[in-house]
């Protein structure tokens, strides 16, 4: 079973989903991301690791142009998804974000019912033709978000009334309800207990067969467990990017080595 998956994985690791060339990000005068080049492969899990404040979230937000919403933020360089320059003026960020979903660092459910939280994306994008179809999408998403059993009896209660960990899984379910091609996850497990974490990791493992998943994490173990590729950021630089096994067993840069052995961070 595991071997099967490994073969499948290797087979899929050929085509590139996202290409970033010379990306720089500035917050006013702060240079947060410095000349980053990276190729993110389709149908893989890519982990971003690095000390706090090194720019992992910032770079992640470049991939669905969420940085557009910050007035002082300026992004230069080229980012291509499926060979389409996402910063080109012909690209509508609204459409891009339907294609590239995101789970945020802090759980942020809408102050609406659990059902409406999940159904919102499919509704605005017109993914469901009927109420029955929408119900199906909601149930499927909640199941994949590993939260269905906890909320199935109270779908019309507010999403904000859930515990922090449940909220985060609700947000994951909400993000996958729109069937994005790329899923960006910014520390999705920081508010979760080990059981929920394991469930989310299982979900990620399952998702990457259809989607590209980019996950920011502070947990080396998590990066090692779920990802095939790992990128190490330090002070806005992409220091090292390689197969996860290589990064953890055989890092080429001394900074990477110090970080994963716990000497900087």
């Amino acid at each position: 079973m595991n071997d099967m998956r490994k073969i499948e994985r290797d087979a899929n690791m050929t085509d590139t989903k996202i290409t970033a060339r010379g990306v720089n990000v500035y917050y006013g005068d702060t240079h947060a991301i410095k000349d980053v080049n990276i190729e993110i492969t389709d149908k893989t899990v890519t982990a971003f690791i690095g000390p706090s404040g090194c720019g992992k979230s910032t770079f992640l937000r470049c991939l669905n142009r969420m940085n557009d919403t910050i007035d002082i933020c300026r992004v230069t360089g080229e980012i291509r998804i499926d060979d389409q320059d996402i910063n080109h003026k012909s690209v509508d960020p609204v459409q891009l974000r339907a294609q590239v979903g995101m789970v945020f660092q802090k759980p942020n459910p809408f102050p609406k019912s659990i059902y409406d939280n999940i159904a919102y994306g499919p509704r605005i994008h017109g993914l469901a033709k009927s109420k029955v179809e929408l119900d199906e999408i909601v149930e499927k998403s909640l199941r994949r978000g590993a939260i269905w059993d906890e909320v199935k009896d109270r779908l019309d209660e507010p999403g904000t009334g859930l515990s922090g960990g449940q909220q985060q899984r609700l947000c994951i379910a909400r993000a996958i309800a729109t069937e994005p091609e790329v899923l960006l996850m910014d520390e999705p497990c920081s508010a979760l207990d080990p059981i929920a974490t394991a469930q989310v990791e299982e979900l990620i493992d399952e998702l990457h067969r259809d989607y590209s998943v980019v996950i920011v994490t502070h947990s080396m173990q998590q990066a090692a467990r779920v990802s095939q590729k790992t990128a190490f950021f330090h002070l806005g630089n992409l220091v090292e990017f390689n197969d996860t096994s290589e990064i953890f067993t055989n890092p080429t840069d001394t900074r990477t080595e110090s970080y994963i052995t716990g000497r900087i961070g």
């Binding site: 669905n64 609204v94 974000r97 942020n108 605005i124 947000c171």
Partner: protein, 433 residues
């Protein structure tokens, strides 16, 4: 604390626990002091409010009742022939009826008859006329009617004219008091709730004057104000807060809106006089123009309240919606605005409450005219509650003193009601989640 100096082993550093304990005492004292100051401030505010309301109630409560006289009037066909309606000797009919109730008064003397007639309000004859005109079959029959007495007798009945005052200084003479007492002994005098205070428009005669015109005028003015300032204010706030580029121009607009909110209202009145009445030729004294003027003043309040409410919506909600691929406009209208609604409504109602009490601009556009009928459209001449108070406060008749206080109480009642609605709406919308 004293350990530091008393310690035998010479000076040693106080431990942080000791330092915290020492500072804790100081911090507690500070907090207590602050609490007492706060409590004192609230007490003073409450005392002032109590004094205000108490003084208004003590003078105003009398205006909520009105002395009435019940009398039986013979509609004499000789005095009031059907073919001359609506004209006829209605006052003479009333005088005759009064004469019968006051035996021993020589009604053939013109002066005495005039004085006796003065017991009744001037409005009594019109009431009789209206009844007869609407039902001419009453001619030749006796009609029982309860009509307001004139202001001096009302004052006398309410004890506001002291019987102990020497006759020369008294507006009701000794013989008039005697008539009144006779009527009272016969049980003709009553003091019911003064429905006229709400059902009548303004009048020169205090016993007939009511707030209907002012209430209707204020209603039209506030409606106009709301219909204009609410959508415009919210629209402007949404644009400025959510869509406008942040640059010099938007800063300039923001500063000006804040300034606008601080402009004295009389200036808005002058502006309205020059622009709405002078240039556009809108009618003077019309609640519509009043509403436009009040809208100018309310809009900055609504804009500021709306922007504050929009700003208070957590950015994570916007991010969540944007991250799902909602457009800017969907984010604003489906997520931000519903969450900001309680704040917006509260701000709007407070703005409208301010507008309701605003006097100066209405004086300038002529809403302090003497108008004896309620406006039937926002373009008719009318007064408003605050200007009505202004007019009555200026009137020499004694009866207007208590009516002024009563009108202020009515105005305060409306303000309290509006604020209650604001609180209710806020809670109702917030209770959702």
């Amino acid at each position: 604390m004293t350990d530091i100096t008393n310690a035998p082993a010479g000076p040693r550093k106080a431990t942080s626990t000791e330092l915290v304990a020492a500072s804790l005492k100081r911090r507690r004292r500070k907090q207590m002091r602050l609490q007492w100051i706060g409590l004192g401030a609230i007490s003073i505010a409450f005392l002032m409010l109590f004094i205000l309301v108490a003084s208004l109630v003590s003078t105003g409560w009398q205006a909520f009742t009105q002395t009435h006289l019940t009398l039986e009037v013979y509609v004499d066909p000789e005095e009031i022939p059907e073919e001359r309606l609506p004209r006829g000797g209605f006052d003479d009919a009333l005088a005759a009826s009064l004469g019968q109730m006051l035996p021993g008064v020589d009604m053939s003397d013109r002066a005495t008859a005039r004085a006796v007639e003065g017991i009744l309000s001037n409005g009594a004859q019109f009431e009789l006329r209206d009844r007869v005109v609407s039902d001419p079959s009453l001619i030749g029959q006796s009609v029982t009617m309860t009509v307001p007495v004139s202001d001096p007798y009302d004052q006398l009945n309410k004890g506001l004219i002291e019987r102990a005052t020497p006759e020369v200084n008294r507006r009701v003479k000794d013989n008039e008091i005697a008539w009144f007492d006779t009527l009272a002994e016969n049980g003709a005098i009553s003091k019911p709730f003064n429905f006229g205070l709400f059902a009548n428009a303004d009048s020169r005669f205090p016993e007939l004057a009511g707030l209907k015109g002012a209430l209707v005028g204020s209603f039209w003015a506030l409606l106009t104000c709301f219909v204009i300032s609410f959508p415009l204010g919210i629209g402007a706030a949404i644009y400025l807060e959510e869509f406008a580029p942040k640059n010099k121009l938007s800063d300039f607009i923001e500063v000006n809106i804040n300034n606008l909110a601080a402009v004295p209202s009389v200036v808005f009145g002058l502006l309205a006089l020059a622009v709405f009445i002078g240039w556009f030729g809108l009618p003077r004294s019309a609640p519509f123009v009043g509403g436009l003027t009040l809208a100018l003043m309310t809009m900055p309040t609504i804009i500021i309240a709306t922007r504050a409410a929009l700003k208070a919506v957590p950015p994570s909600i916007r991010e969540a919606a944007l991250g799902l691929g909602a457009s800017k406009q969907q984010v604003v209208f489906q997520h931000v605005l519903p969450l900001a609604m309680p704040g917006i409504l509260t701000g709007t109602i407070i703005g409208l409450a301010q507008a309701l009490g605003e006097t100066a601009p209405l004086l300038l556009i002529g809403m302090n005219a003497f108008i004896t009928s309620a406006a039937s459209s926002p373009f008719d001449s009318s007064t408003a509650l605050p200007t009505q108070i202004f007019i009555w406060a200026d009137s020499p008749e004694r009866g207007f003193v208590s009516r002024t206080s009563a009108a202020i109480l009515v105005l305060l009642g409306f303000l309290v009601m509006m604020n209650a609605v604001a609180i209710y709406l806020r809670q109702k919308f917030e209770r959702k989640w």
